[in-house]
Amino acid sequence: MRHTLFAQGKRGEGMILVVGPLGAGKLDYVKSLGYEDADIAPGVLDERPVINDAQNWIWAENGACQELVARLSRKEVVICREVGSGLIPMDAEETAKRRLVGHVCNCLAQEAVEVVRLICGIPQRIK
C-alpha cells in the first residue's frame, strides 16, 4: 500500500534516496518496495542494488564528497541515516564527519529520481 502511495519510481529508473533518523523505518520501507534481504548490502558497496547504512560507508571511505556521490549514485536505492540532528560535537573531526554525511546526502538528493524521508515509520516523498 505504501509503495503505491508514495513510491513513484520503478526499479531501474534511477536512484532512490531514503533518509531518516535511527529506527525511523527506512529498511522496512525499502522492503515494501519489493527488495529482499539478499538485495541489501549493510554499509558496503558491492553488486547488491541497495546499500543500507550508507553513512557507515561514507565514514569508512572518508573521501571527497563528489567522488562518494558518484559511486553511491549507481545504486538503485541508497539508505542513509540522518546523523546531523544532535548537539554539535566539541571535536572538530566529529563535526566534520556529520557534515560530510549531510553534504553527500544533499548532492545525492539532486541526483535521485526520488527522495523519501521516514519519520515514525511514515514515508514522505520530498522529491
Binding site: 540522518e82 546523523v83 540532528s85 549531510g102 544533499n106 538528493a109 520530498i126
Partner: protein
C-alpha cells in the same frame, strides 16, 4: 515575513537562507553569530564572507543580541545561527546564564516586528540520545524551547532535509 529555517548539520540551511535573501528587497544584511574558535573556523568565516560578496549583502559579525538592534527598520535580515547566538549569550561568563534564551527571544521578536523580512537559521540538536552534563542539557532545553517559541510567532517554518526545503508551517509562498 518572518521565517524560521531548521534542519540538521550540513542539511543545506545556509544555502537556502542565502538563496531567499538574494531575492528579497534591500538593504540586505547577514548577521553571522559564530565566534571563530580555531583556524578552520576562521577559514570558514572568510569563505562565507567571500561567498556573500557581490550579492549585495552586508555582513555583520555579531556574537550577541545587542549587535542586532542597530539594524534599520524595513531591512531584510538573515541571522545565522540561533545555536551560536545562544551559546555566546549563555556561556560568555563564569556560570551558564539562564536568562539568555529570554533575552534572545525578546530581541528577535522586536526585530521581527521592525524588519521587512527576517530569516532565522537554527539547528536540530536534540536528536542524538546522548545524556550530557547539566549545563549542556540546559542549553539543549533552551534552544529547543526557543525554536518552538519562534516557530509559533513566525509566519513560516522550513525544515531542510538533504538540501530540500520542506514546509512545516505557513503557506508555500517565497519570502
Amino acid at each position: 515575513m518572518n521565517i524560521l529555517i531548521t534542519g540538521g548539520a550540513g542539511s543545506g540551511k545556509s544555502t537556502y537562507a542565502l538563496q531567499c535573501l538574494r531575492g528579497l528587497p534591500g538593504p540586505r544584511y547577514y548577521a553571522a553569530c559564530m565566534k571563530p574558535a580555531d583556524a578552520a573556523e576562521w577559514a570558514a568565516v572568510a569563505r562565507n564572507r567571500r561567498e556573500r560578496q557581490g550579492m549585495g549583502i552586508t555582513t555583520i559579525e555579531t556574537y550577541h543580541c545587542a549587535g542586532l538592534l542597530a539594524i534599520e527598520p524595513g531591512a531584510s535580515l538573515v541571522l545565522e545561527c540561533l545555536c551560536n547566538l545562544l551559546a555566546n549569550e549563555m556561556f560568555g561568563g563564569r556560570n551558564a546564564d539562564v536568562q539568555a534564551a529570554d533575552r534572545i527571544e525578546e530581541s528577535l521578536l522586536r526585530l521581527a516586528a521592525t524588519c521587512g523580512d527576517l530569516l532565522v537559521v537554527t539547528n536540530e540538536i536534540g536528536g542524538d540520545g546522548v545524556a550530557y552534563d547539566e549545563d549542556t542539557m540546559a542549553y539543549i532545553q533552551a534552544l529547543t524551547r526557543l525554536n518552538r517559541r519562534l516557530a509559533q510567532a513566525f509566519d513560516q517554518v522550513w525544515e531542510l532535509v538533504c538540501g530540500i526545503p520542506c514546509l512545516r508551517k505557513g503557506n508555500e509562498v517565497k519570502a
